[in-house]
């Protein structure tokens, strides 16, 4: 599940732009994840310029 860290979002909409399933709602100063629609692809976490989004999935260790 994608989570939004409290009070840190700048509401820039970058995550909304990359979301492939339109699962992020953003208003002037209000963001919410529509969990029923979200497919946990995590690309919103990748792209967030200020690291506001996170996942409750266990952290994956990168193997090179």
């Amino acid at each position: 599940m994608i989570l939004v860290k409290d009070n840190r979002c700048d509401f820039c909409g970058t995550c909304v732009a990359v979301c492939p399933v339109d699962a992020i709602e953003l208003r002037e100063a209000d963001i919410s994840i529509i969990h029923d629609t979200c497919i946990d692809c995590d690309i919103c976490i990748w792209v967030c310029p200020i690291d506001v989004l996170t996942s409750d999935k266990p952290v994956e260790v990168e193997n090179d």
Partner: protein, 390 residues
């Protein structure tokens, strides 16, 4: 009878140009802006080419923070490639600039409403027939013959119309910028850092903003920003090079650097600006291309309404005219950006070492790209295409 002929969603440069052009063409036009103010918050580096801007306006001195006559590009080993051109560009005060453009639209007859958050479209089958929006807690709707969506990188309105507007991760730059005070930078020079060190898949910029201030920011491709965000990278840079700088403002945002959407119209509906992915894929600049796209969209919308045909076919001049003016160069720039992404830091250094031997009076962006093309020959044709007429 509809409430309006044209409703424009979004009050940035693309939206205001669209509203102005539509109103000038005789269409009863309304522009809706979701935020409280036109021009705020500013999500932009604010740099713009002087010649390109003058196609649209003679900029008022009040909207110009700095006039640029020098460009510096730094390779990863900090070799500086400098070149200049008299009054090459401006760093704008977007807050003032955007308001001036919206004001121009209103002088042409367009109505403007801020705090109007569009949360749906009125549709009849596949045709867009108006917007649903919220204003001060009230739900409202208005009918129109054409909706022009200029709602920026998010491009939600396009999705409501059934167009596929989302940006792929590989085509999205994750951006962050601070406006700083108390720094000693050349107020006539823009300074770029390329390479993987600060901004993999993008660049870091220092744009002067007058009186010891500057915009310092960077954009990195989304695929590189997972573990070291644009925010963290920008602050590391400032700590290293400008430890005494004070931070006056900070902003983040996404820059869509993919190809312009192939399908940017449907029945009664047009997309423009960042929402249509019109940003220059090499520079990340979207002000001029958005103004161009918005203006064409507004003109075509007004004509289509006069002719009484707002179907996709009736709006077909829009993609045709976009392709003729900006689209062709845009595609060449996109291919250049794909090649640039494959250049290693070592190659960048080599290119810079070669370029510093060239007298700076002979240096230009074209010269830089043709030198890059010596490393990546397949780029040469696109460089020629992109710079034809420049």
């Amino acid at each position: 009878m509809t409430d309006y002929d044209v409703i424009v969603v979004g009050g940035g440069p693309a939206g205001s140009m669209a509203a102005e052009a539509a109103a000038k063409g005789g269409a009863k036009t309304l522009l809706l802006e979701k935020d409280r103010d036109i021009g705020y918050p500013v999500r932009c580096g604010e740099g713009v080419g002087a010649k390109a801007l003058k196609q649209f306006m003679n900029p008022d001195p009040g909207m110009i923070a700095a006039t640029i006559s020098k460009v510096r590009m730094r390779s990863p080993d900090n070799t500086c490639v400098d070149f200049g051109q008299e009054e090459a560009g401006y760093i704008l005060h977007r807050r003032i600039f955007d308001v001036a453009l919206a004001n121009r639209a209103s002088k042409a007859g367009a109505e403007i409403q801020t705090r109007a958050y569009v949360d749906g479209l009125l549709m009849e089958d596949e045709a867009v027939t108006g917007v649903k929006y919220q204003y001060m807690g009230q739900h409202r709707h208005l009918t129109s013959k054409i909706v022009i969506a200029a709602d920026g990188v998010e491009s939600r309105v396009g999705r409501m119309a059934g167009l596929r507007t989302s940006t792929k991760l590989k085509d999205m730059e994750s951006g962050y910028q601070v406006t700083v005070g108390n720094i000693d930078v050349d107020q006539e020079m823009i300074d770029f850092y390329v390479g993987d060190n600060w901004a993999p898949g993008g660049y870091l910029w220092i744009f002067p903003k007058g009186d010891g201030m500057a915009n310092i920011g960077l954009g990195i491709l989304g695929i590189y920003s997972r573990y070291d965000s644009a925010h963290d990278r920008t602050h590391s840079f400032i700590k290293k090079y400008f430890p005494k700088a004070t931070i006056l403002a900070s902003v983040c945002g996404g820059i869509p650097v993919g190809k312009t959407l192939k399908k940017m119209t449907s029945h009664g509906f047009m997309l423009t600006g960042d929402a249509a992915h019109m940003v220059n894929p090499v520079t990340g600049g979207g002000i001029i291309t958005g103004m161009q796209g918005g203006q064409i969209a507004g003109e075509v919308a007004a004509l289509a309404i006069q002719k009484g045909n707002v179907s996709e076919k009736g709006l077909e001049d829009y993609p045709i005219r976009w392709h003729r003016t900006e689209g062709k160069t845009h595609e060449a720039f996109y291919r250049i950006s794909q090649t640039i992404d494959t250049i290693t830091d070592e190659q960048l250094n080599k290119i810079a070492h070669r370029l510093v031997k060239t007298p700076s009076s002979e240096l230009s962006l074209l010269k830089i790209f043709t030198t890059v093309a010596r490393e990546k020959p397949k780029m040469l044709l696109d460089v020629t295409r992109a710079f034809a007429g420049v």
